[in-house]
């Protein structure tokens, strides 16, 4: 029989405000096995922990129930307290009477009733607890960064600088990401390429970093410290180690009309291409959907002109099996599709463009070599209308936009408007906005300069409609402050499209068993206190995959994620989780169901000899769990029909005892 102590926490008024803590500790005192019950203002404080340690000694307690906040908050604290008192740490159970009770109830009577029930369930479980001892697992001292934008680059550089090997997997032929497509960066207006490309070169030159470009993560198995990752290196039909990046093939390729994704389709590239001059790795890639040789076997020009002999039309996708101790997700963002925003005539007129397209239009390496010419007739536009929040903060139009603020648009639009007025003072620039949001160091000053020094016309109000008419775009908008309708004949309309997580993020989250929010942004372990860790151990978040961010914020978070990874990789061993599954061999049918549902590959089968009750020996097929690989998810225990598989610390009998205590 256990001797259980119950400790009810007030959490100041967090719990005591809606739960009668005295009534809870009084009620639980009468539960089977309970020999001591008390309550205190802050159980997690040193004084509170001392009460527990004292009670263990005075009452010879064998088990502890703490009625307090979520185990996510303080389970570790109270386990340490128990250890300090000489108890096995796994003899502690937490009844969550805060998040799941006091915070969701309004009146004292129902809050108290529920707190007592939750406490009874925890007592019922502790009665069946057994001491557990964790094992240790080694750490593979190599990190994987998924995504080679500025977030992934910064994280990889920081990890590599600490002396650990890092691999970057980038699905495009080059690293660089969205930042490589930008022209200038706010609020200092330095050229994006000038500050990004040195970092890209650093990555290429760093001995600790390997770049798998034009590659995708295919499968992830394992757990913190020991991930097994399959990486698909897509066939680029060019031998990466031989190609010198001279670019001769890209000049001679006869297929000229392939939309250039780097310039967002505003000009063309060849079927064999290098995305941009500073690409890393600077290696050509053949687009198999466009290449005549690959489609019909007729051409071979690139192979003929390549002096290095790097072209290989027979190249196949390659699957690499790699091991990692930590994984950083840096999958970034994309602007949303404008297909559902017919009112802005994006699909009707070439002169309605998104802000990212505008970046390419003003970039010296862009389709107009940096001259501001509108796409339809390559004439200089004199009246330009910027529309803010296209698809952002769109609570009422959730089916086409996003509810959240995309955060970066106010600043880059101020930048665009300012740059136009600076280079082309004869141009009228209007910005239509809901609010202008410019928190950040030197951000509001930057926006004020656009309005006050550069004469950008900021109008609070939304554009209702854009109608192409002749060579003009008729813009109908409302000015909410003046309270009137505006009609502007614009030459160019720029839409600040909302941003969303890259489409590769969701399948990746599934492979990682990392959680996401409803918008497919990765969820942090704690929104304030653990912002760069995923709730899945060993998985870290860098950049816009976690939420909309500008470059300064992305880089800070990227370095923070790197710090967390380094903190993990310096360890030689990790303490395992003793709450793992194990099979009762006498009851195991050998049916393989558990093996099939195990997401970690922790279960194998062996043929084992058993002495049967009638003194015969029988060979039976039985399940074996590798405790170093098992993560204690419990999938096998619910799949096992005969109940042969059970989870230490969460045994079926313990769960049923909890349910019984609740239903009593």
């Amino acid at each position: 029989m256990q001797r259980i102590g119950v400790f009810v926490c007030w959490c100041g008024s967090n719990i005591a405000g809606t739960v009668d803590v005295q009534a809870v500790s009084d009620a639980l005192r009468n539960e089977p096995g309970v020999v001591f019950s008390t309550n205190y203002q802050y159980m997690c404080s040193q004084a509170g922990q001392d009460i527990i340690i004292q009670a263990v000694k005075e009452h010879n307690l064998t088990g502890i129930v703490v009625c307090s906040c979520s185990p996510r908050m303080h389970e570790a604290t109270f386990r340490k307290t128990a250890a300090a008192a000489g108890l096995n740490p796994y003899m502690v159970e937490i009844a969550n009477i805060r998040e799941q009770c006091s915070w969701v109830h309004k009146d004292m009577a129902s809050g108290t009733e529920k707190a007592i029930i939750l406490g009874k369930a925890a007592v019922a479980k502790v009665n069946l607890n057994a001491p557990l001892t964790p094992g240790e697992t080694p750490v593979t001292k190599r990190a994987l960064v998924i995504g080679g934008g500025i977030a992934g680059i910064q994280t990889a550089l920081d990890i590599a600088d600490a002396g650990f090997p890092v691999d970057i997997v980038e699905k495009n032929p080059t690293i660089g990401g969205k930042m490589a497509q930008l022209d200038k960066t706010f609020p200092t207006l330095d050229c994006a390429a000038c500050i990004l490309t040195p970092k890209m070169v650093d990555v290429a030159q760093n001995d600790n970093i390997r770049i798998f470009s034009y590659s995708e993560v295919e499968d992830i198995k394992g757990f913190v410290g020991n991930f097994d990752v399959k990486i698909r290196k897509k066939a680029r039909f060019v031998k990466e180690d031989i190609c010198t990046g001279c670019g001769l093939c890209t000049e001679k390729c006869p297929v000229r009309k392939v939309p250039n994704e780097f310039n967002l389709g505003m000009d063309n590239r060849r079927a064999i291409y290098i995305p941009f001059a500073q690409a890393v790795p600077k290696v050509a890639t053949i687009d198999p959907d466009a290449c005549n040789m690959l489609k019909s076997g007729k051409c071979g020009v690139c192979s003929k002109v390549c002096t290095a002999g790097a072209i290989d039309y027979k190249q196949q996708d390659e699957i690499l099996d790699e091991k990692y101790g930590a994984i950083v997700v840096a999958t970034g963002f994309n602007p949303i599709s404008m297909d559902k925003f017919d009112e802005y005539a994006y699909n009707q007129s070439k002169d309605v463009i998104t802000s990212l397209e505008f970046e390419r239009l003003t970039n010296a390496a862009g389709p107009t070599q940096g001259k501001l010419l509108r796409p339809s007739d390559l004439k200089h536009p004199h009246t330009i209308v910027f529309v803010q929040c296209v698809g952002s903060r769109c609570a009422s139009c959730a089916e086409k936009g996003k509810e959240y603020c995309s955060k970066i648009c106010c600043m880059y639009t101020a930048k665009h408007a300012m740059l136009i007025r600076d280079k082309y003072p004869d141009t009228e620039v209007y910005v239509f906005y809901i609010d202008v949001r410019t928190p950040g160091k030197n951000f509001d000053e930057f926006y004020r300069r656009a309005v006050e020094e550069y004469g950008v016309k900021y109008i609070k109000g939304m554009v209702g409609k854009v109608v192409p008419e002749g060579d003009k775009l008729k813009v109908q908008a409302s000015d909410l402050i003046a309270g009137k309708q505006l009609h502007i004949d614009a030459d160019l309309v720029v839409l600040a499209a909302a941003i969303e997580p890259d489409k590769s993020a969701r399948p990746l989250a599934t492979m990682l068993t990392a959680s996401m929010d409803t918008n497919d942004f990765f969820t942090e372990a704690h929104p304030k206190l653990r912002p760069v860790e995923s709730p899945t151990a060993g998985v870290f978040l860098s950049g816009a995959c976690q939420g909309p961010k500008d470059i300064p914020e992305t880089v800070s978070q990227a370095s923070a994620a790197a710090a967390k990874v380094i903190g993990l990789l310096v360890k030689d061993k990790l303490t395992g989780n003793p709450c793992v599954a194990s099979a009762n061999e006498m009851m195991c049918n050998g049916c393989s169901t558990c093996e099939r549902v195990c997401p970690y590959g922790a279960i194998t089968y062996i043929d084992k000899e058993f002495r049967m009750p009638d003194r015969t020996v029988a060979t039976r097929r039985v399940a074996q769990v590798n405790p170093a690989v098992c993560q204690g998810c419990g999938a096998c225990t619910v799949a096992c029909m005969s109940g042969a598989m059970d989870l230490r610390g969460f045994m079926s009998s313990q769960i049923i005892a909890e349910v019984d205590a609740i239903c009593k």
Binding site: R596, R620, A644
Partner: protein
């Protein structure tokens, strides 16, 4: 009338037995009454000649018996499997429940088996004999002077009227012609129950399951129920002591059993055949099969050995739990 004659089966059984290829034969033997045909192990030629039964009353599915019989026997076992039995056979192999090498399977075609309850309802109690004819059965009873002609279709078991397949999915040797997977209406009754209001449905199952006497026949006959130790026999399982407590508990028993066989049940219908209280237990399993087909695409347990049932498999395209909860399906 069955297409293959009893003599053909007996000849093959005796020749395999005498040649030493098999050491025993799993077949049917008459029980207390002629319609009460039970599974039996034969090892003797004369016993087979005299007592081996093959007629319209041989409903029993032998697959499950192989689990214990292959362990008890050193030699090969000859087993006769009807098409629907072969699905259970494959499912058991998928779950590694016996050694395939120790079994010799003869597939036999099946024209459907008689539901004795339906026969008694038609001709009354006191069945003495039934002669198979081209059209049906010629039945004599204690209480009638003349034999009664019965249309076979009117007395076929429900699972045979809604036969899902006349194709053998496993055999070493086939007697007669191979059949086809049938187009059956087996989910119509499930759909009718689904259309009920929750209260009606509860009342329906209350009415059916309250007749349960917990004889365990459904579990004992079920080819999916081959655990080393059943949870209902296991004092530490936490459900064993609950079963007989109150009137809701037999629902628990059947619902737990339906969950345990979900995705593994081949819809052989043995549970309903053996139920002495005539509870349509197969409907619980069919509801699962219908849902699995709807949520994850058509899946027939036991169609091939080693197939991954949707409930123990995962694809990125799988429905989210919330979709299932809201009754959405992709099919």
């Amino acid at each position: 009338m069955q297409k293959i004659n009893r003599d053909v089966l007996i000849d093959r059984a005796i020749s395999l037995l005498n040649s030493g290829q098999v050491s025993s034969v799993l077949g049917w033997r008459q029980g207390e009454f002629f319609y009460d045909v039970t599974p039996a192990v034969f090892t003797d030629e004369n016993d087979i000649r005299e007592n081996f039964v093959w007629n319209d009353f041989c409903g029993a599915n032998f697959s499950k018996y192989l689990v214990s019989k292959t362990k008890a026997s050193d030699g090969k076992i000859l087993v006769f499997l009807k098409p629907c039995d072969t699905y259970s056979f494959n499912q058991l192999l998928t779950e590694h429940r016996f050694d395939r090498e120790k079994v010799y399977v003869i597939g036999i075609p099946c024209e459907g088996m008689v539901d004795t309850g339906k026969l008694k309802a038609q001709v009354g109690d006191g069945l003495v004999s039934a002669q198979s004819t081209e059209e049906g059965l010629l039945v004599t009873t204690l209480y009638s002077d003349e034999p009664v002609n019965v249309d076979i279709k009117s007395v076929l078991a429900e699972r045979c009227i809604n036969c899902k397949s006349k194709k053998h999915v496993a055999y070493d040797e086939l007697l007669g012609d191979e059949g086809q997977i049938e187009d059956s209406d087996r989910f119509d009754e499930v759909a009718r129950i689904e259309a009920m209001s929750p209260d009606e449905r509860f009342a329906f199952w209350q009415g059916e399951l309250s007749r349960c006497i917990r004889c365990n026949a459904c579990r004992d006959v079920c080819p999916a129920c081959t655990c080393e130790k059943c949870v209902f026999d296991n004092p530490v399982s936490g459900v064993e002591n609950k079963a007989p407590v109150n009137s809701f508990e037999e629902k628990m028993f059947h619902i737990i059993r339906a969950f345990h066989v979900a995705g593994r049940c081949t819809d052989c219908g043995e549970c309903s055949r053996v139920c002495p209280q005539n509870i349509p237990l197969h409907l619980l399993n069919r509801k699962f099969i219908k849902d699995i087909n709807g949520f994850y695409g058509e899946y027939q347990a036991g169609e091939c050995v080693g197939s991954r049932a949707p409930l123990v498999d995962y694809n990125l395209e799988d429905l989210e739990a919330s979709d299932v909860f809201e009754g959405r399906d992709t099919q």
